[in-house]
């Protein structure tokens, strides 16, 4: 059962009923509000949508600066696109507000919004439950449920002492860290969890990350867990290197720390597939088949178990043989 969700990422998009789009002659305008540039997620989204219907994309990027977000939302209000795509919890919360607290003068309510790469939309307060946002909002969560991630970690081997690091200013990261902590503790593991030290503005810094990690890694835990966290993803390589020098393997909730950063393992949704799924939702809204409020907030049904074999050899933490059946191996020399 567990194996099924861990299996190679297949797209649950296969169920997309390819009904003929009620040909709206005019080209749709879709605006993308991003946080750290165009990722695989946006490529998946745009590729999918473009294949379905003629569409123009307007892309705005905050460049990892939260302060730029209000201006981007204001511009969207003025431009009035047919649909808005938002990347990540932070951008989405800034664009539509939380379900409980929204300000019509600041937040967007009358344009359908499709979010993507939001770790936990309900936990972040975007919607009351995953069946419907009850407003002009829907989207895709890219994360494997914390239970599946914890099981995946156990499957690799010992997980008695866990260290978790997160950015205190990223809501999803705080939530994910708390949920994994709870699961690990229930399973009898000891957990050390620390927020990254911040500067005066409350933003995490590179130096803060290094010193927080030094503290966490001193007694050499079995795993260092990296939640879905924009700051950590941006500085994955540094975090992973520091952990591996200390002889601690890293388990990541997202792709990049494993693929590019060299983390040992991770249970992830490929960003591209999540983007395609978001594109499918956007297409249903644009063609008038459904309203955003009628579409559930989904996660992908299948996840990829990533193993970085180079790190495995370096750390001498070899994956159990059974894992080789279904894991995607990265970092192997091409054979």
């Amino acid at each position: 059962m567990k194996r099924r969700i861990l299996l190679q990422a297949g797209l649950s998009l296969g169920l997309a009923p390819l009904l003929p789009a009620l040909a709206a002659d005019r080209r749709h305008k879709v605006m993308l509000l991003l946080y750290r540039g165009v990722t695989e997620a946006e490529r998946g989204f745009m590729d999918y949508l473009q294949r379905q219907q003629p569409v123009d994309f307007i892309i705005r990027d905050a460049g990892s600066d939260k302060a730029k977000l209000p201006a981007m939302v204001a511009e969207a209000k003025a431009l009035r696109p047919d649909l808005i795509y938002t990347f990540g919890t932070t951008v989405t919360a800034e664009t539509v507000g939380s379900f409980a607290q929204r300000d019509p003068s600041r937040h967007i309510a009358d344009i359908p919004v499709v979010f993507n790469i939001v770790a936990d939309p309900v936990g972040a307060g975007l919607a009351p439950d995953t069946r419907s946002s009850l407003r002009n909002l829907t989207g895709v969560s890219h994360l494997a449920p914390p239970e599946a991630q914890w099981q995946a970690m156990l499957r690799f081997g010992t997980a008695k002492r866990i260290a978790i690091v997160y950015s205190q200013n990223e809501k999803n990261s705080v939530l994910a860290s708390a949920r994994l902590t709870k699961l690990a503790q229930q399973a009898g593991a000891t957990v050390k969890v620390e927020g990254i030290k911040t500067d005066a503005d409350g933003k995490p810094t590179v130096q803060g990350l290094a010193s927080t990690l030094t503290e966490l890694l001193t007694d050499k835990p079995d795993w260092l867990y990296l939640p879905s966290d924009s700051f950590l993803i941006a500085h994955a390589a540094a975090a992973v290197t520091q952990a591996q020098v200390a002889g601690v393997p890293v388990f990541a909730a997202t792709e990049e720390p494993v693929r590019q950063g060299g983390a040992l393992a991770g249970l992830v949704s490929p960003y591209y597939a999540a983007g395609q799924f978001a594109g499918y939702k956007a297409e249903q809204i644009l063609s008038g088949k459904r309203k955003a409020s009628e579409l559930p907030l989904d996660t992908l049904a299948r996840f990829t178990y990533l193993v970085n074999i180079q790190s495995a050899r370096q750390l001498r933490r070899y994956p159990p043989l059974a894992l080789l059946r279904y894991a995607e191996i990265v970092g192997a020399a091409p054979t």
């Binding site: 074999i309 495995a312 050899r313 070899y318 994956p319 159990p320 059974a322 080789l324 191996i329 054979t335």
Partner: protein, 671 residues
């Protein structure tokens, strides 16, 4: 030497030769099979072994150290759990050092094999060890050993040997039947025709021709004979023109056929109907070993009856339709003639079997089975009447014994082969095949039976008056209710219904079920002639019926002493012996004790009514067994039928003892 003697010898010789040839072939085939089965069995675990070995190779390609891998033992445990055929798994390195293992037995000779450079499969002690190389990027890394129970190999061999023996027995029985037919058609019938032709000629009758559709010596002889007859008749025609009225005067006492006619002598023989009858019984018995299981596929609780009763119902209804069809079938057969009656019966059976194969619900299954039963009944009656009318009265008993022997030979062969076929083809295709064989029987009869009306007395139709008259006769009632009906209840309730289900539940293959069921027919064929001889000599028919009844009850309790497949086999064999002893004397007993009543309704009618009532037992059997299984499980059904048989046999014995004492002047048995 009479032709009959010659025929018998020829048939036995040919069958013996066939048996020897088949036996030799079997033995020759069994040996290479024994050597082939090891790799065949090893192949069954090869896929699993391959996936493990591939995984180890993959780990090596990823540069993971072969002797330090994680989770290999766990993986091997999982593999063993998912594949119960595999008793152990072992990974050794290039030097035979043990690295990872699951379920390893302690066995010295095996250890030696593991440390050596083993390849392929080998049976060592009680294990079949299969070695698979594990290849890495730098050549062989080590070897994966997979162990299976060698006993499984032996079990498979034994199973196959049983199948071969079964086929051998069936082949011999079939060959005997076929030989008898061939002999009759190719030797006996033409010589009889020739003899009759010559007898006619001796009496001055030149009007008959011999059949011209023979090959070889007989064909040539007949052709010459016919040419001679033809020229004689042509001359007679010429003479008649020439001489006018004087012709009749000159040729008084001689007979010629009229111009343009060509009357042909045709000799029918009992054996002509035996083969198609055998074929039809064979075809219908193919489903005997799996029929209750086939029905199970149609059962849903929506029918509102318990599963066990529902499974028995189609058998009961088949038996009911068969019993009900019989009296009508007799009348039909008289009206239509053997050839048409048999062909139509076999045709109906063909359609019934074909529709049975494509049934969708329990309801239409029951309907098609009833149709099959009607055709079956028509064929049964026709064959019976044909044999009765083609045997001289003094040999009637022997004729009937032969009829029953053919019936049971067909039935046991069909049950055994049907099991083997069902294992390999499945249920529905086996029914299709049944239909094909039944059609073949119909075509056979159309080709070989004469298009002639029978000369026998037309039978009376069944009347209520006769039935009431017979049932009012106490010995008749006692024999039918206490001896005949319980026998049939045991036959259908135990042999046709409970035994296949129970044998299947014990984990037997269809072939094994068919094979075990074969024991009944074999016992009947082997013991019936013996018992008939003894019964005729001793004359105490009632003791035979009693002993048969008690033996049948004992058979049902065999399971109590010996549970499992062997116990069921023993029970079936014992039941066969019991029925061989107790069933055929029942009719003789009626002749002995019911003379007045039988004389009043006529022998044929009395027998017909006896058979009709007896078949009620056939109908009741599966219903009783089903109800017993539902309440007391399989063994309860065996014991229940056993108790029923025991009680009826006891009352029967007491009743006859009482009748005997009261009826002292009645001689024991026939003089």
């Amino acid at each position: 030497m009479s032709t009959e003697h010659l025929q018998k010898r020829l048939a036995i010789l040919a069958t013996a030769l066939l048996f020897a040839a088949a036996l030799a072939l079997t033995l020759l085939a069994a040996r290479p099979f024994a050597t082939a089965i090891e790799p065949e069995m090893a192949r069954s675990v090869l896929v699993v072994g391959d996936s493990v070995s591939q995984l180890l190779s993959r780990a090596d390609r990823l540069a993971l150290p072969f002797d330090q891998l994680i989770g290999v033992d766990t993986l091997l445990d999982e593999v063993r759990r998912d594949n119960p055929d595999i008793s152990y798994l072992l990974v050794v390195d290039r030097h035979g050092r043990r690295l990872y293992a699951s379920g390893l037995p302690q066995h010295e000779p095996l250890k030696q094999r593991w440390t050596g450079a083993a390849r392929d499969s080998a049976t060592i002690g009680p294990w079949l060890d299969t070695a698979l190389p594990i290849m890495g990027s730098q050549g062989q890394l080590g070897t994966l050993h997979l162990g299976q129970q060698a006993a499984t190999v032996e079990a498979q061999l034994r199973e196959l040997l049983f199948d071969l023996v079964t086929v051998l027995i069936v082949a011999v029985l079939t060959a005997l039947e076929l030989m008898r037919f061939v002999m009759a058609a190719m030797v006996a019938a033409p010589s009889a025709a020739l003899a009759e032709g010559w007898r006619a000629v001796r009496q001055g009758d030149f009007s008959r021709y011999l059949p011209s559709d023979y090959f070889g010596g007989i064909g040539r002889l007949n052709a010459r004979y016919n040419a001679l007859t033809e020229s004689l008749n042509q001359r007679a025609v010429a003479l008649r023109v020439k001489l006018g009225d004087a012709f009749e005067h000159c040729t008084s006492g001689l007979r010629f056929h009229a111009e343009g006619e060509r009357p042909t002598l045709f000799s029918g023989a009992v054996d002509f109907v035996r083969w198609p009858f055998f074929l039809l019984i064979f075809s219908d018995s193919l489903s005997l070993s799996f029929f209750p299981l086939y029905v199970e596929g149609f059962y849903t609780p929506a029918y509102g009856i318990s599963r066990q009763v529902a499974l028995g119902l189609p058998i009961s209804i088949f038996m009911f339709a068969w019993a009900m069809a019989m009296p009508w079938a007799g009348l039909w057969c008289d009206r239509l003639g053997y050839r048409r009656a048999f062909a139509i019966g076999a045709g109906i059976t063909t359609v019934g079997l074909l529709l049975t194969a494509v049934s969708q619900t329990l309801i239409d299954l029951v309907l098609w089975r009833s149709l099959t039963a009607v055709g079956y009944g028509l064929v049964f009656v026709t064959a019976q009447t044909y044999i009765a009318n083609h045997t001289p009265p003094e040999r009637r008993t022997k004729g009937m014994a032969m009829f029953l022997a053919t019936f049971f030979a067909g039935s046991l062969s069909g049950a055994a082969i049907g099991g083997i076929l069902a294992d390999r083809l499945g249920h529905r295709p086996t029914f299709m095949l049944s239909a094909g064989l039944s059609l073949a029987a119909a075509l056979f009869v159309l080709r070989f039976l004469a298009r002639r009306r029978m000369g026998a007395a037309v039978r009376k139709s069944l009347s209520w008056r006769d039935i009431k008259l017979l049932l009012a006769h106490r010995p008749f009632l006692v024999i039918t209710v206490l001896a005949a009906i319980p026998s049939k209840v045991a036959l259908t309730g135990f042999l046709y219904y409970t035994a296949p289900l129970y044998l299947q539940a014990l984990g037997n293959s269809q072939s094994a079920v068919g094979r075990v069921m074969m024991a009944y027919g074999l016992a009947i064929i082997a013991f019936s002639p013996l018992v008939a001889q003894m019964a005729d000599k001793l004359g105490r028919h009632r003791w035979f019926v009693s002993i048969g009844g008690f033996a049948a009850a004992a058979a049902m309790f065999a399971i109590y002493f010996l549970d499992g497949t062997l116990g069921v086999a023993l029970a079936i064999l014992l039941l066969g012996i019991a029925h061989a002893i107790g069933v055929s004397p029942q009719l003789a007993l009626i002749s002995d004790y019911c003379k007045d009543a039988v004389a009043e309704v006529g022998q044929a009618t009395a027998t017909g009514i006896f058979r009709l009532i007896e078949r009620l037992g056939n109908v009741l059997g599966p219903i009783i067994a089903g109800a017993l299984i539902a309440t007391y499980d399989f063994k309860g059904a065996f014991y229940g039928i056993g108790i029923l048989t025991l009680v009826t046999s006891t009352i029967f014995t007491l009743a006859f003892w009482w009748l005997h004492v009261n009826d002292a002047e009645l001689a024991e048995g026939r003089p």
